[in-house]
């Protein structure tokens, strides 16, 4: 599925972590492409390496991570080869990230306004007044009630949903080409989850941003994604168009995941992975 309109191309990415017990492979030979304006869901359980992929794209992996091999092509360049300063200029402007728990992603001692405004100040060189105006507009756009008050608040004063909207504002304020969303709704109340999800979808449609949506929830992926990448212990086990995969899953793991989705009216036993493979 390679086309000229691809925003991101990942080839044979292999990443390990150095631990006290030696090197542990987190991600092995992962390859995929992301088209412009498309949403790719990376699905897998904890430890499948999905978060590592996200961190690698922004090159904010922890210090004990080793990129063994592979390339990440963005904007015609392999960003793994870029020097730190060039990469820094991409972060927050061309590629952004949203993490799972919004409250700890925000600095507890700084006001919200400052934390949003520092992005355009850094990348666009705006002065404080303009940056704050832009920040406020962005905040309004994300549906935050009483944006002036929120701009003046501290993170611990906000609810989870509001905090995540702030984080989304930070990520989207410069209309990046690529957004990595690492389980953005997992830590939120169910009622808020849907709202935040809708917000993300709206925004990226508006700005034409491509999204890598990392989640453990296959049904959520089905709702939001154009393509799906299923990860199992660091390897890609399924990759393709969302509808294809749901109709004809090729890998037993995918089938097991699909089977695990609770269905109303289902009676009987859930099958384990071994049983499915042997079936």
């Amino acid at each position: 599925m390679t086309c000229l309109e691809d925003i991101l191309k990942v080839n044979n990415l292999t990443i390990s972590y150095r631990t006290l017990r030696g090197k542990v492979k987190a991600v092995e030979n992962v390859s995929f492409n992301l088209g412009k304006g498309k949403i790719l869901a990376v699905v897998g359980e904890t430890g499948s390496g999905k978060t590592t992929i996200g961190l690698a794209i922004l090159r904010i992996l922890p210090p004990n991570a080793v990129i063994e091999k592979g390339e990440i092509w963005f904007n015609g360049k392999n960003i793994l080869d870029l020097d730190e300063d060039a990469m820094r200029r991409i972060r927050g402007k061309e590629i952004s990230i949203i993490f799972q728990e919004p409250k700890i992603t925000l600095n507890p001692v700084l006001k919200i306004g400052e934390q949003i405004a520092e992005v355009p100040i850094e990348h666009l060189g705006l002065d404080k007044k303009e940056a704050y105006k832009l920040a406020r507009k962005m905040l309004e756009r994300t549906g935050v009630p009483d944006p002036d008050r929120v701009m003046n608040s501290y993170p611990h004063e906000l609810s989870g949903g509001m905090a995540q909207r702030v984080v989304i504002s930070i990520a989207m304020i410069l209309r990046p080409k690529l957004l990595v969303a690492d389980e953005p709704t997992s830590a939120l109340d169910v009622s808020v989850q849907a709202q935040v999800l809708d917000l993300i979808q709206e925004l990226v449609r508006e700005t034409g941003t491509s999204v890598i949506f990392i989640t453990h929830d296959l049904s959520l992926a089905a709702e939001i994604a154009d393509e799906i990448l299923v990860m199992y212990y660091g390897k890609v086990v399924e990759y393709g168009d969302v509808f294809e995969i749901f109709k004809t899953p090729k890998h037993p793991y995918t089938r097991a995941l699909l089977n695990a989705i609770p269905r109303i009216g289902f009676r009987g036993r859930l099958k384990s992975l071994e049983e499915m493979i042997n079936a």
């Binding site: 922004l58 904010i60 820094r88 200029r89 991409i90 972060r91 927050g92 402007k93 952004s96 990230i97 993490f99 728990e101 700890i104 992603t105 925000l106 600095n107 507890p108 001692v109 700084l110 520092e118 992005v119 850094e122 990348h123 008050r149 608040s153 501290y154 611990h156 004063e157 984080v167 930070i170």
Partner: protein, 340 residues
């Protein structure tokens, strides 16, 4: 405002603690010693003298009466007379207090100037040689007896290699400036007597280094731990993910958070400096509260004991009050949720 309520509560605590301090000094001075006058005057004392002092001190009254009188006296600053100097203790305190404050504050500045940068450097360059050496320094620093260090350094740098002058605040023959604050460094600057200032400076450096040694080690450890903790936080990762420059990330996001516990520690450090002063003033012939208190303890000069202990505890409590109030301002999380 929420902040005002918190501050008010903190001040109320301080008042309660002050009452507690007065009570404990009372216990030390009147309740515990079996015969305060007898132990001072000795068994040979003529009984009339003992009786006279007893009445003078109000020791013939019942204990609870003594307690109330005591509280009222302390609140008026009346600690009685010192047996040694034969002056009201309050006068003694006024005389010796500035010297200790000057020494403690100067040592604090040195401790912070050494401890904080070393701690930050250590944390940012974790596991490097600098980190390792700094940690060795810190561990040794908190294990060193301050009075021994003072003796050794005095021997080395005053007697053997004559870098520093003799113990004391000023050289013999140098007149202190007319007192404004009682602190020679400040007063000499305010009065324009720069030669006196230099002399005083030369005299205060060695005792400050000795006093500050333990505390710079302690501050370094706390700073390092704090920076390390902050650096591993999610919001620092987010700051990098925003594409902010490294310097900005460190200054704005790391420091602002890492310095919060360090500020609290400075309050505790001041207490440690006051203790250390008790030990070092004897060695450096520093005419301060510490030396006064020690002599009072040794000679069982109870009024002086009470006065000195009370004053030291008061100063310590005030410093901690200031630090706690400051903390309310620098850490927004203390203020709780928005009203309304």
């Amino acid at each position: 405002m929420r902040v005002r309520k918190l501050i008010a509560r903190r001040i109320a605590l301080m008042i309660f603690v002050l009452w507690g301090i007065i009570t404990i000094t009372f216990i030390v001075a009147r309740v515990i010693p079996a015969d305060p006058i007898g132990s001072i005057l000795g068994p040979q004392a003529p009984p009339e003298l003992v009786e006279k002092l007893r009445k003078e001190w109000g020791l013939d009254k019942p204990l609870y009466q003594q307690y109330f009188d005591y509280i009222i006296n302390v609140l008026h600053g009346d600690f009685g007379k010192s047996i040694k100097t034969n002056r009201p203790v309050l006068e003694d305190l006024k005389q010796f207090f500035p010297a200790t404050i000057e020494l403690a504050t100067f040592s604090l500045i040195i401790a912070v100037l050494i401890g904080v940068p070393l701690g930050i450097l250590s944390a940012l360059k974790k596991d490097s040689t600098i980190d390792y050496l700094s940690r060795m320094f810190a561990l040794t620093g908190v294990s060193t007896p301050v009075f021994w260090l003072g003796l050794v350094l005095l021997y080395l740098f005053y007697y053997k290699i004559q870098i520093f002058p003799e113990p004391g605040r000023l050289s013999v023959g140098v007149q202190p400036p007319d007192p404004i604050t009682g602190m020679i460094l400040l007063d000499s600057l305010l009065r324009g007597k720069f030669d006196v200032f230099l002399d005083a400076l030369k005299h205060i450096i060695l005792p400050s280094i000795v006093l500050g040694f333990y505390n710079s080690a302690y501050i370094m450890r706390i700073t390092r731990a704090s920076v390390l903790e902050v650096v591993s936080q999610e919001y620092v990762r987010m700051a990098i993910a925003k594409g902010l420059r490294r310097r900005k990330v460190i200054l704005k996001h790391v420091f602002r958070n890492a310095m919060i516990p360090v500020v609290t520690v400075i309050g505790i450090t001041y207490g440690s400096l006051l203790e250390g002063a008790v030990l070092t003033e004897t060695i450096f012939a520093w005419p301060g509260l510490g030396r006064y208190a020690t002599q009072a303890f040794l000679s069982l000069d109870y009024n002086a004991v009470v006065g000195a202990t009370f004053l030291i505890a008061l100063v310590y409590s005030l410093v901690n009050l200031v630090v706690d109030v400051l903390y309310i301002y620098i850490d927004p999380r203390t203020r709780g949720a928005l009203e309304g």
